[in-house]
Amino acid sequence: MASPQTVPCVNINDEFVQIVSLNVKQGDFVKNGDVVGTVETDKSLIDVAVEQDGYVLRIDCAPEQKARVGSVMFWLGAAADEPVPEVISTDAEARNAAGRPTAKARAMLKELNLDPARIPASGERLTAADIEDWLARTGKTGPAAALPSPSTRTEDSPTVSGELLELSAEAAGMLHTVTWHRDHAAAAYLELEYDPKPWEELAAHYATQQKLMLSPLLPLMAFRLAALARERTLINSTIVNARRFQYRPVNLGFTVQVGEMLYLTVVRETQDMDAGQFIAALGEVQRHAMAHKLPPQEASGATLSFSSMARWNVSRHIPILPPQTSLIVAHAAPKTSGKAVLGATYDHRVLTGFDVTQVLLALSRPLIPGMTGTYHPESTY
């Protein structure tokens, strides 16, 4: 049976020793009394002598390491292939908090009096970010701590008579967005002009090929942006409590104006999609928006956004950053100028102007990620 060689005690009052050297390796045969290493405390150094003949089966410590007196240094056996007994970690099961929301999430649930069953978890455990997503999506206000203090400050009612009306969920969501932008993000804006022709041609080519009735230009540009986030992960992150929060999925926000209502629709998990799937998913979301029937997961949780005002013929628009994102690309294409504009509102805490310029430049060049061979945009020039 395998038997352990344990870490020797140097001084009765020292609980830990430093492993200075260990001159055996797995498979070595050692004899009782062989000196195979040294351990020390800050007081003294002693040799480690093997206590029985045998093959070294496994080594459980390494030089430079601090080891508890009495713990296993290595295992010895009569044959080189003897099994080493399994040690069951006592706290392994206790550590397993599987399924339970994180403590931070539980604190938020309690504070906001929310039912965790209603909130989808993005991973194994419900996290604070999951709750924040859900809140943004459903237009509810977040935890007091997450709210910037100015917005929690009570305002005096106007002196002129009137009545207080509750905000709609969308309007409340917009208030939250604007407040986050104002109080948390260090918002900056830049833009560059580009020639819209190549992108239009690529879109037309794609539409023909895929037999699409509507121009896929904007969806393709948005998809290209989502794809860029896979290489440039910084644009798909935010700052939380002075640390960077890197999103795992790329959930693309895409503004949709329906009558008087501006929605930030969201296509989730775009990182696993190809262009066709993305266009289809976005089409679906847009249909829901048109009907004012966006489900919460399609109205919240954006990690990166795209907004076009090409339809309105404006020459420039500077969008508000959706909460806890660091980049929203603003597209404008005034019909008369023959030029188009790619602008970006970004959180300067995360991104620099250089980072954003790189993204806009890349985005201005037509490319359909994952599509090769069928069409090569550069070939038109």
Binding site: N11, N13, E15, A94, A103, K104, K110, N241
Partner: protein
């Protein structure tokens, strides 16, 4: 926080402490001399007083009778003041034992001779100080009292005279005072006076043994009146009295106060003992003529008659012509009447403001030099360097404790190399925790800076009386008295040492009023903390160390220092550290060895539970840094106090209460060891002491 205390008393106390041994040039305490001279007709008495105020009492019957009679009249006055309702509390007179008191004290003619007395101390005090009005006023609680009303009958202080109400409680202090005299090469001796009933007190034997081992001039005086309060010595005394002294190798004498040559024999014994520079044991047979205290004498009339017939003072009077006696008695009566008037005229002692604590704030000691620590020093090395530095740079420093000497260097090797480097200044002692604590107090009272080591913190309970009833009382009662001692000791479990070698008893000691309790960690600069405790804090300090941290590297990591508040006491020396989130979901408060566990738990709470965790790590447990740490914690929303101690009624409870008083509105949790013994088996110990896992689990219950 001013103490209502006569300025002249402070002056005396300062002499007692600051320049105790070099006092050949001590000036007479002028206020007292005037008081005695003007208000009481000392001139009518036949005694002169030396320049410390001590009456010079000759060995002739006239002198002895005159002073003995004066003491008796004063004791009678005190009892009368009681019956007039002018005194409250208690008192113990030495009626019948006056000659015993005079015999020893009059022979203490060296300016550095010290007296440690007990409850029956008036005769000793008067023979030492000559301050009759000071005594009576003190017992009456008047401003003119020798201790400003703080001491009453049992706790008197005058130069090198101290009495206290714990029977035998000052014997260790006596050994320390005697050792101080020996170390300084002084010709003074220490007389420690007890009753025969106190022969049952264990500390006495520790002290006799210490004095014997140290060859220090401690004279143990037993006033053997055959009774203890109401109990006959038949029922309290096993074996012989002198045999006790002889057993420890003490030169032993025994005299009876009705022996005509009594005072001369005592004087010869005292001077023999002084010459020998060795400890002695002097048994004085006497009888108590009055009650133990007031009206509590249960003895039969026959016995009382026998005692009265034996009265050695009356025997002295019979040796004198009756005219002489009458003159003496008339003068004494006039004198004691003037004492009564002086005491009556003094207003009640008052305080302008009740002190909030015993400490004088912002007494800046000169900034000491600090030891240079090698980078990567462990806690053990850092403490060792600090001690070495103290021994090198300040000749007042002494180390005292069990097994400190090389090559062993202390159970946890903190003093290794020091006994070799500093011969004579690292004192390995017998197993006598109470005795050496007392000795440490004695050494510090005499101007040394002793650093004592207790081998395991569990044994601190043996030191409790010395700290609780003695060390903190000196600076507590007398603002000018410094007791700059430090007791270091390793605490804590996780070593499998079992129930009496694993505890963290800080909570017992933070409860001692006036004791400064410091418990740092490897995050603090422990070498500096220890240096400051020794050099910059004049009060008794308990300096706790955790066994598991000795091998840890000193590393402040990402901790910041919480600035001390103006109203904090000592927080500028023993800082609170903090790290982590500025807007935390939870704040962990932890100290000592538990801090490492709290840090591991915090990491998991941050990584696995997304929590923003702050850690607050005080090094000063008492006095609690309310202005800084508590104020900081009071603003937090969730606070978990993690300690290794048995935490019921403990440090965490005090922190929690202070937080509530400062307006804390959040959630609070205390984590500590349940009130059960700490088992030896590692597996049992693991489930008893809070560890990373149990801390995480309990913190999560808040969410």
């Amino acid at each position: 926080m001013p103490f209502a205390q006569p300025r002249w008393l402070m002056y005396i106390m300062r002499m007692f402490i600051a320049e105790p041994m070099m006092s050949e040039t001590l000036k007479i305490n002028t206020r007292e001399a005037t008081l005695a001279g003007e208000s009481t007709p000392w001139a009518q008495l036949r005694f002169t007083r030396n320049n410390h105020g001590k009456p010079q009492i000759g060995l002739d019957p006239e002198n002895l009778y005159a002073f003995g009679h004066l003491i008796r009249l004063t004791e009678q006055l005190i009892l009368e003041q009681f019956s007039r309702g002018l005194v409250s509390g208690t008192t113990h007179t030495c009626l019948g034992q006056e000659l015993t008191a005079i015999s020893v004290i009059r022979a203490l003619d060296h300016p550095e001779d010290a007296v440690l007395s007990n409850h029956r101390n008036h005769g000793h005090f008067l023979a030492y100080s000559g301050d009759f009005a000071g005594l009576v006023a003190e017992i009456m609680g008047r401003e003119a009292g020798v201790c400003g009303g703080w001491g009453g009958s049992q706790h008197l202080a005058y130069r090198h005279f101290h009495s206290n109400g714990v029977q035998g409680g000052m014997m260790g202090i006596g050994a320390g005072l005697a050792l101080a005299r020996k170390l300084r090469g002084s010709g003074g001796i220490v007389a420690a006076i007890i009753g025969d009933g106190t022969l049952g007190q264990g500390l006495l034997y520790e002290a006799m043994n210490l004095a014997s081992v140290w060859k220090a001039p401690l004279l143990v005086v037993v006033e053997n009146n055959g009774i203890a309060q109401t109990t006959d010595s038949r029922d309290t005394l096993g074996g012989g009295i002198e045999a006790r002294g002889a057993a420890f190798g003490l030169h032993t004498w025994r005299f009876a106060d009705d022996d005509p040559g009594f005072c001369r024999k005592v004087a010869a014994a005292v001077s023999e003992m002084r010459e020998s520079r060795r400890p002695g044991f002097l048994v004085l047979d006497t009888r108590r003529m009055g009650p133990h205290s007031k009206g509590d004498d249960l003895r039969g009339q026959d016995e009382l008659d026998t005692i009265r017939e034996r009265d050695p003072l009356a025997a002295l009077a019979r040796q004198l012509p009756s005219a002489t006696c009458e003159t003496i008695e008339a003068n004494n009566r006039a004198f004691v009447e003037s004492v009564r008037l002086t005491a009556n005229a003094s207003p009640e002692a008052t305080l302008d403001e009740t002190p909030a604590h015993i400490f004088t704030l912002h007494v800046e000691q000169p900034l000491p030099g600090y030891p240079v620590m090698a980078a990567g020093s462990t806690v053990r090395q850092s403490l060792n360097s600090a001690l070495r530095h103290l021994l090198e740079t300040d000749s007042r420093t002494l180390l005292i404790g069990e097994d400190l000497h090389d090559p062993y260097g202390g159970a946890f090797k903190v003093t290794q190399g020091l006994s070799t480097g500093f011969p004579g200044r690292v004192i390995s002692t017998p197993i006598s925790e109470a005795g050496i604590t007392g000795a440490t107090i004695g050494l510090s009272l005499d101007g040394y800076l002793p650093v004592m080591e207790v081998m395991f913190a569990d044994f601190l309970s043996l030191c409790m009386d010395q700290l609780f009833n003695h060390a903190v009382k000196f600076p507590g009662m007398f603002r000018d008295v410094a007791v700059p001692l430090v007791i270091r000791t390793p605490c804590g479990g996780r070593r499998g040492y079992g129930p009496t070698h694993s505890q963290s008893p800080e909570h017992l000691f933070t409860a001692v009023p006036g004791l400064t309790v410091v418990y740092g960690s490897h995050r603090h600069n422990l070498g500096e903390l220890l240096t400051d405790a020794v050099l910059r804090w004049r009060y008794p300090v308990l300096f706790l160390e955790h066994k598991l941290l000795y091998g840890e590297k000193i590393d402040p990591a990402d901790y910041l220092t919480l600035p001390a508040a103006d109203d904090d006491v000592a927080a500028h020396l023993f800082p609170t550290l903090l790290r982590g989130a500025t807007d935390p979901d939870v704040t962990l408060v932890s100290y000592g060895g538990m801090l490492a566990v709290a840090e591991a738990a915090a990491r998991r709470l941050e990584d696995e539970e997304e929590l923003a965790v702050e850690i607050v790590a005080p090094s000063l447990l008492s006095p609690l840094p309310r202005g800084s740490m508590i104020r900081h914690l009071a603003m937090r929303s969730r606070v978990v106090i993690v300690e290794e101690s048995h935490h019921e009624f403990g440090v965490s409870a005090e922190i929690a209460a202070a937080m509530l008083e400062s307006g804390f509105k959040g959630q609070l949790l205390r984590i500590g060891t349940p009130p059960i013994p700490i088992a030896s088996a590692r597996s049992l110990e693991r489930s008893i002491l809070p560890d990373e896992q149990s801390v995480v689990e309990q913190v999560l219950e808040l969410f």
